[in-house]
Symmetry: D2
Subunit: 228 residues, 4 copies
């Protein structure tokens, strides 16, 4: 288990076949290698079922993709923050565009995450929603225009003003929130641009998971973060 | 990994603290011991994060508590049938009263479960809903009047006609569906009654997980099934 | 207010601009005229806000597009069956593919609809789901393969076996359920085909609402039903 | 149709039998009388089906209880902002504790409401959530601790710091948002307290709808607002 540091490259494994089960473990180990070589913090967010096996084998930070704002009890089929923590996760995505939550659930989930010691990374799709999220006091937020997710068109190039406005306006409401950005990030220059625009890292998925050579891709992303 | 046989005692771990992480593993091992001693099939349904660790250590059938009717892809925070399968589950609960699904989702989930080789155990709260579920062709269904769940008042005693009507009417619509019953089951006599009413087993949770001595309780439940 | 008769042509106004507010009233009056001329029962399902104004002005049956399975009480923003009834509706769509419900909600909604005297028309997307719906004892069900909705490719032509299988298998589970079909219906011959395949009517939307001349289109649909 | 003014007393009719159909109209007329006599703006939020009949008969502002963030089109069973507007509503509640929305839906609903000319009144259950809501730029927000709703214990007495903190912190994020408070309000002194704590009005429901004499109760509430 390892602490999160910035700049952070956070790789969401989604439910991709290339990042399920044995493949999840393999990919996490590649990420660990790159992280150890470059010194850049690389986090991975595998599926629930893969958290324990992955966290057992790698020293980089492991995130859940979602948790439910529940206490231990009668919640069949839900994701208990304590379970995710005990499995070895150190944080969790919240409100990803593929798993949107009610406003009150986001609030309650951040509170529960903090209570069990999980780092909150809340996703938001535009500047206003990012500012709203910041008011709820998560550790991190990731601004991701959903129309760019999976396109290969990086937010840092297509909508740099969304990133800079988010960084600036979030700072006013809650200067403690660490801002990441995501959507369309696949290259080293995208990471560099994201950092230059004022973020502390990136959230990405297919750019790494579906890359021909994920190891090489991760190395380029990480090196680009070193150079900034 | 092990096949499901009937009579079946299926223990839902829900998100109980007593059945999370290390506790889940401990409880699953107790269940395995009782199963080996009595010859009765005992299944366990731990949380997603505990499926892999539990399935690795025990020879009894492991179920998920829920799966999403999705294919591999961009479904952050969802539960991929393939992931649950690779983690070692052989089946899954569907539509538990604490995780109700849309009708079309139940249909799609049963289809996906079948496609990846997971046994479907669909929950239903009354006779009509059970018949509706049977039309969707799951392997098993568990009729559970929600008002009795967690009460200690067994469905087999409080509402025996719900159980017998379900068994009878389901048979007409789809004779291949194995009917279980649940809600309020805590004692050996409840299991015996359930089997005498025509079911092939029981689904229970707090009756075992929250029991003072889960091992002793399970032993009584299993022995009672042997005697029928 | 008027009783439903079969064959039934049921026009779903959805939230189309062409069928909102004043336009809803105009379209309902056109439908009434065609119904009076041909003797064929034409029902309309306007938005909630248009039920009262429409029901006040026309003698044909008015349906809601959805109701919630709630009792009078603290349910801000929900759709009370009694409210819909008092506004003048005589029935309601349930589980339309654009407003899918949980299985237990469909069951509860049918029960509530019956309690307040509203005719249930439950939508289903395939044969299995139709049989499941029939087990819940609605007055009517409409089988609508969602992939054909709005395409202009009529289910009665593209998937006649879905229609005939539904009619046949529903009859076995519950012979009292009146079966309609929908999706892609725009012409008189589609209605004729639907009736010949054993249904008692059709559910359609854009085929009428978005038609160049809705009155003329409705007339053709209705005449085609007369001729069968 | 009438403009909203402050101080505002906004009466949510929920799905109470006492405020459905003919009863809704009767109650709205009482509210209008009190408003005309006292000069205090009283708004009413009846069910969707009652918006048109009510708005036609009274001169006080009528609100919807919820709208969906949709455009005209294929959204069977949903609530189109344009439909609510054409029926005569001048605003809408959003995210009431009985109809919670996803964060992105709240954002989109406020945008849609603005586009069609409906005043947004977004509900929030605590200070943090209120600040988050303010970042989304609604016209009004109503802070309502859900545990006090329907209790008769007024938020202005039980949790005055929630009200004052909300007023103060919202001002910093977005000084244009008008803050109301709600939950447990039944008496004139509750309204007075709410206004003294810095809000511009109250949102209430059972306190008026379920009152023995709604007219008398409303009169006391309104007079109390006059005296401030």
């Amino acid at each position: 288990m390892s602490k999160v540091r910035t700049p952070l490259i956070l790789v969401n494994f989604k439910t991709y076949a290339e990042a399920t089960g044995k493949n999840a473990l393999k990919l996490a180990k590649l990420a660990e290698k790159v992280s150890l070589k470059t010194g850049i913090c690389i986090g991975v967010a595998p599926q629930y079922t893969d958290i324990a096996p992955v966290a057992k084998e790698v020293s980089i930070p492991v995130f859940a993709q979602h948790i439910d704002p529940i206490d231990p009890g009668s919640f069949t089929g839900h994701v208990l923050p304590e379970a995710v923590k005990e499995a070895g996760a150190i944080g969790t995505l919240i409100n990803h565009s593929e798993r949107r939550l009610k406003l009150v659930e986001i609030d309650a989930t951040i509170v529960r995450a903090r209570a069990v010691g999980l780092t909150s990374v809340v996703c938001a799709d535009n500047v206003e929603v990012s500012v709203a999220v910041a008011a709820l006091k998560p550790e991190m937020l990731a601004v991701e225009p959903p129309e760019l997710i999976g396109t290969g068109i990086p937010v840092s190039k297509a909508k740099p003003e969304v990133v800079t406005d988010t960084v600036e306006r979030v700072k006013k409401v809650n200067p403690n929130v660490i801002v990441l950005c995501g959507a369309g990030i696949t290259k080293g220059e995208d990471v560099a641009a994201a950092l230059r625009l004022g973020t502390k890292g990136v959230l990405l998925a297919s750019g790494v998971v579906k890359a021909r050579d994920p190891s090489k891709t991760l190395m380029k992303l990480a090196k680009s973060a070193v150079d900034i």
